[in-house]
């Protein structure tokens, strides 16, 4: 088993505990900005939905509901796994943690693949952002263009976040494997996992808006 390198706090911190607290607070503040970043898009969705309820209903009915719902399940599972991984690392089970993080990253990739398949289906049907494509020649309701533009914009931004989250977890995974991340500084994995959960939370709201209601 790889022995871990002793872990010290950074020069300007008194102790590791304070540094961990700072890291967690920093991540939460960052998540607050993410909430407002997506929140702005949600606000646009809400106002357009109030203005064009009928078109938005049509859009939802036409969406790839089964695939979108499957993807929700994928993200929920990934979140559960990475939360378990944090507990494992805290308890000193580095190996278990590394497997769980690997699985989480894998599920993230599955999510992206499914998302890609969905996009492909839309393009086949002639649905592009900005109301471009032949689908809009047959469906004229005012607001449909906005629905699909927001759909593509928001899900693409979310997919970017999934990608970033997977990269962050990948970096942490390599730290675990190289013995730089263990029980003492488990807060680093915790912080990465919190980010992953937030990406999940955003999808939890995107799903009903674009696929269900």
């Amino acid at each position: 088993m790889s022995s871990s390198i002793p872990i010290r706090p950074a020069e300007h911190f008194e102790n590791l505990e304070r540094q961990a607290h700072a890291a967690r607070l920093g991540m939460w503040v960052f998540l607050a900005t993410e909430v407002l970043l997506f929140g702005a898009a949600f606000a646009l969705f809400a106002t357009y939905q109030v203005q064009f309820p009928h078109a938005f209903k049509l859009g939802v009915e036409h969406n790839t509901k089964v695939l979108g719902s499957l993807n929700t399940g994928v993200l929920l599972l990934s979140s559960t796994l990475v939360a378990t991984g944090v507990h494992a690392l805290r308890a000193g089970h580095r190996k278990v943690a590394s497997w769980l993080v690997t699985a989480t990253i894998g599920l993230g990739l599955v999510f992206l693949v499914i998302k890609g398949i969905e996009y492909g289906k839309h393009f086949d049907e002639g649905i592009y952002p900005g109301g471009a494509g032949h689908w809009f020649a047959e469906h004229h309701d005012r607001g449909l263009a906005e629905f699909w533009t927001l759909y593509f914009g928001m899900t693409a931004l979310h997919a970017i976040h999934v990608t970033i989250g997977a990269c962050v977890l990948g970096a942490l995974l390599s730290s675990i494997l190289r013995g730089r991340l263990g029980q003492e500084n488990a807060h680093r994995l915790e912080v990465g996992a919190i980010y992953w959960h937030l990406v999940d939370v955003i999808w939890i709201f995107l799903w009903p808006l674009f696929y269900l209601a």
Binding site: E11, H12, R18, H21, A22, L25, G26, V29, F30, A32, T33, E34, L36, L37, F38, G39, A40, A41, A43, L44, T47, Y48, Q51, F52, P129, G130, G131, A132, R142, G143, L144, A145, E146, T149, L150, G153, L157
Partner: protein, 559 residues
């Protein structure tokens, strides 16, 4: 009373001690300027003080650039028709002036330069919580600024700094590039704000409780909250305009069912709070300077501290007052009109506090304080006109006229810029260890104030008489006031150029400042000037309040 007698000032020659060779250990530490002098050590530094200096130098350059455009705009208006540029160039110049002044100068001005330099010292820390993130934030800022400036090279941008669609969705100028630049600068703003929030929470030294923080920290803290929570909304809406213009998505294009008013909602949800990003740090400088030169604790510490948070919050409730004539519903217009009135309350609390502190204090009249007087007068003036325009019936008359231009320049230039200059004079001795020439300082403060007033007061009259903003031509009867305004801008420029010259001179020939030239009690003055790399060589016992002038100055320097 408690600590003073034991150790009288220990270090006679602050700077001369970049110990040559193998001098024994107890020699004073080299200052943060002296530890390493290569270019690389500056560009890759994680020392908050050096990053503050980097920002300061960069921001002074962007301010000069924005000022150059301002002078050109004013000269253009010397005559009612074309004077020096074409109408298209004029449009590009006022846009660029606005974008540069708002995002490349005013937003980061005080927090990123002085905030970075003094905030960690004021909380008694060795550095900010995330030093490398701090450096990253600087370079992101540089990258975003370069993008904005590049856009000038490839066609400029002619939408005005507010980027309103539908025009910005179709303008053939370099809209996507410039907006991406602003978007990227937003990241830098967020990271700096995040760093300050976490630093204030987790890095305070023993003895520095929340109620013992210098007031500048409170105002930067409140600013950071706005930066972190408002900027992402701007980022999102700008991205949508980028794809609207670049890829033809048309989310805000009425021809495709889009609603441009929604852009304005999101834009002002950021940009009204953003005006408090610009002015709150200035208020922090005022609090420091007033206490230092009045040699008195603020009339009510808590009122000033909490009103910063109050402003940060209420600032988020008023954005609709920019949209009274944009087609927003009457219900929303009424709501925003009423909510806007609340803002004035917290600003007034501060103003009364400062004036009362000055009245009760033993005032030492120095250049920074002169600037503070200018701030108080101009800020109140500008703020009151703001309250007036926030009444819908008046705004219908004033909207998009020079009245509005005068309103916000009174606060952004008369308020923030004067506070910035006050801070520059106040902390220059700390940053460089040398004094500026006091007489010249006072002279240029007078020039800046007079020049400013002559430039912008006539614009109230112009606007009220019906002169619309952002117009290239104007009817001849407005010419006299326009000429007065232009001449004023030359006086203002003269004051600023004079300032630039004597600061450059003092860098080399200024009298040595010593650790605490103002006799301030605030924490950043309790180390050497310029401070050593980790700010305090030993942790100073922070048992004296930063505004406690009832006790003799603790003359031990914890350098």
């Amino acid at each position: 009373m408690s600590t003073t007698p034991l150790a009288p000032a220990a270090s006679p020659a602050p700077e001369a001690s970049h110990a040559p060779g193998a001098s024994p250990r107890p020699v004073a530490h080299p200052s943060y300027l002296g530890v390493d002098t290569t270019l690389r050590s500056w560009l890759l530094t994680t020392d908050h003080k050096r990053i503050g200096v980097l920002y300061l130098v960069t921001l002074l350059a962007t301010m000069a650039l924005g000022g150059f455009f301002a002078l050109a705009l004013r000269i253009e208006h010397l005559t009612p028709n074309a004077t020096i540029v074409s109408a298209m160039t004029y449009n590009r110049m006022f846009t660029l002036h606005g974008v540069i002044m708002v995002w490349l100068f005013l937003i980061p001005s005080i927090p990123s330069s002085f905030g970075n330099f003094v905030l960690p010292m004021m909380v008694g820390a060795k550095d900010v919580a995330f030093p490398r993130l701090n450096l990253l934030s600087y370079w992101i800022f540089v990258a975003g600024s370069i993008l904005v400036l590049l856009s000038t090279g490839i066609g400029g941008i002619d939408t005005g700094w507010t980027f309103y669609p539908p025009y910005s969705s179709i303008s053939a100028t370099a809209v996507p590039l410039a907006l991406l630049g602003v978007f990227i600068i937003g990241f830098s703003t967020i990271l700096t704000g995040l760093n300050f929030i976490v630093t204030t929470h987790t890095m305070r030294a023993k003895g520095v409780g929340w109620m013992r923080l210098p007031l500048f920290v409170w105002s930067i803290y409140a600013t950071s909250i706005i930066q972190v929570l408002a900027t992402p909304v701007l980022g999102m809406v700008l991205l949508f305009v980028v794809v609207d213009n670049g890829l033809g998505w048309g989310l805000f294009d009425p021809a495709r069912g889009g609603d441009p008013v929604l852009y304005q909602h999101l834009f002002w949800f950021y940009s009204h709070p953003a005006v408090y990003i610009m002015v709150l740090p200035g208020m922090g400088v005022v609090s420091e300077v007033v206490a230092s030169y009045a040699r008195k604790n603020p009339f009510s510490y808590k009122a000033i501290a909490y009103s910063s948070l109050g402003i940060a919050f209420v600032g988020f409730l008023t954005w609709g007052h920019h949209m009274f004539v944009a087609g927003m519903s009457k219900f929303d217009a009424g709501a925003f009109g009423v909510l806007s009135m609340l803002v004035a309350v917290f600003s007034a609390i501060k103003v009364f506090n400062w004036t009362w502190t000055l009245k009760r204090g033993a005032v030492a009249l120095k250049t920074p304080l002169l600037y503070i007087f200018a701030f108080l007068f101009l800020f109140v003036f500008g703020g009151m006109t703001g309250v007036a325009t926030a009444s819908m019936s008046l705004d219908v008359h004033w909207h998009d006229t020079y009245f509005i231009v005068a309103h916000f320049h009174f606060i952004m230039v008369g308020g923030t810029l004067t506070a910035f200059l006050a801070g520059l004079h106040y902390w220059f001795p700390k940053m460089c260890g040398r004094m500026y020439p006091e007489r010249l300082g006072m002279l240029s403060a007078a020039l800046v104030f007079a020049g400013f007033f002559v430039t912008f007061f006539p614009q109230f009259l112009l606007g009220n008489a019906g002169m619309p903003r952002r117009y290239f031509n104007y009817p001849p009867q407005f010419q006299v006031l326009h000429i007065v305004s232009t001449v004023g801008s030359w006086v203002l420029a003269a004051g600023l150029i004079l300032t630039a010259f004597y600061f450059l001179w003092s860098l080399r020939w200024g009298a040595p400042a010593g650790p605490n030239p103002w006799g301030s009690r605030s924490f950043e003055w309790r180390t050497a000037s310029p401070p050593p790399k980790h700010n305090f060589r030993r942790e100073p016992p922070f048992e004296i309040d930063p505004y406690d002038y009832t006790q003799p100055l603790p003359d031990e320097v914890y350098q």
